[in-house]
């Protein structure tokens, strides 16, 4: 919490406004009889969690991965597969028939994302810049086509399932499920902030700014980057599990390159390098999708304009625009 306040008075105010909007908005909407907005806020919270996960690699480590949809989708399929087996009673592994517990789905999603991220990271982190971007994209596409062509779990139809359960909350209803997702986002943000302030985060941020200097001090950037990549993938995987639960559907489109691009866009739109940048980006994205999408099918044209505007006029993103210059200590 300290960092929310100490960032700079204007950024602190912006942060509090964003969190207030996210926390109070759905509650107010439901009281006013618009449950649909709860679902919208849930989607924003999940996308914010995914973007915050990517932000670990992209914002702190400077690793512009164009393949994080792989982890988002794997998380979604992990949830879907566990739920499907639990539904049918058919054994999944070692006679275990899956589970409908959302918490277990999240653990499985993070485990699967970690398993995928370690080899993908170990190979792609041998390169940098645009090559890194292309290799991560290539890995994600491999997983995408694998999912499309694997009929056991729906192939290109995807995987429908009943939303999982959560101890003490009726997760089938919109508002409790929103609290679950919001809780996950807050935990994700806390992890981001703790990592950033730690020795690990310091070294990781230094590799982004000046790898040559980090090496001269006796630190190998590779291990830091691989760790950041894996942690990042796990957080995105957790978000994927929640996203599939929200839609009651694990879809191959979660694995598509458009999804990877969307996650990058959320960060750039909201403000790279700021704790709540990805969250602001996710809120903007969902708001634009809803408002402009209700007005025209081609709403993404305006999304493109917004991203273009940010790229040209406001490199600090939306948060940079309202909170002023960034301060690092």
């Amino acid at each position: 919490m300290k960092s929310l306040i100490s960032a700079s008075p204007r950024e602190a105010a912006a942060n509090l406004a964003i969190l207030a909007l996210l926390i109070l908005g759905p509650w107010a909407a439901l009281s006013a009889g618009h449950p649909f907005y709860v679902t919208l806020a849930t989607k924003a919270a999940i996308l914010a969690l995914a973007a915050t996960g990517l932000h670990l690699a992209l914002g702190l480590g400077g690793l512009v991965s164009f393949g994080h949809a792989a982890f988002f989708g794997l998380g979604g399929y992990a949830a879907g597969i566990l739920a499907t087996h639990a539904g049918s009673g058919e054994a999944l592994i070692f006679g275990w028939a899956g589970s409908r517990e959302i918490l277990l789905m999240i653990c499985a999603a993070m485990g699967l994302a970690l398993l995928a991220a370690l080899p993908i990271g170990a190979i792609s982190l041998r390169t940098s810049g645009v090559y890194f971007l292309m290799i991560t994209l290539a890995f994600a596409q491999m997983i995408y086509y694998f999912a499309l062509s694997w009929p056991a779990y729906g192939g290109d139809d995807g995987l429908s399932f009943r939303r999982g359960i959560f101890p003490g909350l009726n997760s089938a209803r919109p508002l409790p499920f929103f609290w679950i997702c919001l809780g996950a986002l807050l935990i994700g943000l806390a992890i981001f902030q703790i990592l950033r302030a730690s020795r690990f985060g310091t070294a990781l941020e230094a590799t982004r700014q000046n790898p040559q200097r980090v090496e001269a001090l006796g630190i190998e950037p590779f291990g830091l980057r691989l760790t950041a990549f894996a942690l990042s993938a796990m957080m995105v995987g957790a978000a994927g599990a929640l996203f599939a639960n929200l839609n009651r559907f694990a879809s191959p489109s979660m694995l598509s390159w458009q999804m990877s691009g969307e996650l990058i866009m959320l960060i750039l739109l909201g403000g790279r390098g700021r704790l709540l940048g990805p969250t602001a980006g996710a809120l903007l994205f969902v708001a634009m999708e809803h408002v402009l999408g209700g007005w025209t099918e081609r709403w993404q044209f305006f999304l493109g304009l917004a991203v273009l505007g940010v790229a040209v006029f406001a490199r600090g993103g939306f948060l940079g625009l309202i909170a002023g210059g960034r301060r690092d200590g």
Partner: protein, 249 residues
């Protein structure tokens, strides 16, 4: 006799037809300042990169404290006790001066895989870091982002990073660059003290500083050491005069 801190044997590195390092042999003994001079394009930067570990030689060997490090990268050499400074200040620009030095302290402690405790206010980092900043006269600029420091301050921060590593060998690449007469004099005094902590391989264009500080001088030209000896011997050497006077006049 103790092993030399640094021992380079017959080092060779070519880029296509250009022999950037052409059979260089030199060493650095405990307690001394060994200056490496030579005109631009003599191959000093290539040589430094091979000593620091950023560049692999085609042949020859580099030994640090008696250990062959030719196959090791820059981080491993740094961990063995080699601290380098860069000709063009190379810092984490978004971080404050203090946080840059704190990074050097945590690197020395090998503790970059600690994930929970914040570095801010961690006295095991801040105290030695402030001490290093104070030694180079930057204590009152500790909170300023490195990118916003003046050129001279950035040069001093480079030095503070090297100090914070508590190295067994300093490899200083033109530490006087752009400092002006006053700054150079100040730094000359500082380096002559520093040699008591660890030997220094000093690459420098400022001949006043070189002749005031060096116990030995080696002259590099076209990738070869054309002369090596005490300052008096180098002053008397015709080839050396031609090489460095042509550059420093």
């Amino acid at each position: 006799m103790a092993d030399p801190a640094l021992d380079i044997r017959d080092l060779r590195k070519s880029f296509g037809a250009l022999r950037a390092t052409d059979g260089v042999t030199l060493d650095l003994r405990p307690g001394e300042i060994h200056a490496l001079i030579g005109p631009n394009g003599a191959g000093k930067s290539t040589l430094i990169a091979q000593i620091a570990g950023g560049l692999r030689p085609d042949s020859g060997s580099v030994r640090l404290f008696g250990r062959d490090v030719t196959a090791l990268g820059a981080p491993a050499r740094a961990r063995l006790g080699l601290a380098r400074s860069f000709q063009i200040s190379s810092l984490a620009g978004e971080f404050s001066a203090l946080r840059n030095v704190m990074l050097a302290i945590q690197a020395r402690a090998g503790s970059s895989f600690r994930f929970l405790r914040p570095t801010q206010g961690d006295r095991r980092l801040t105290e030695p870091a402030m001490a290093a900043l104070a030694r180079v006269g930057l204590a009152d600029r500790a909170a300023v982002p490195a990118a916003l420091l003046s050129h001279g301050e950035r040069r001093r921060l480079e030095l503070a990073l090297a100090l914070a590593m508590e190295p067994k060998l300093f490899l200083l690449d033109e530490p006087m660059a752009g400092l002006g007469a006053e700054g150079s004099r100040e730094l000359t005094g500082f380096l002559s003290e520093l040699r008591r902590e660890a030997p220094i391989l000093l690459v420098e264009h400022d001949m006043d500083a070189v002749f005031a500080l060096a116990d030995r001088i080696s002259v590099l030209e076209a990738g070869r050491v054309i002369a090596s000896g005490s300052p008096a011997e180098i002053r008397a050497d015709a080839g050396a005069r031609r090489a460095y006077l042509g550059d420093s006049s």
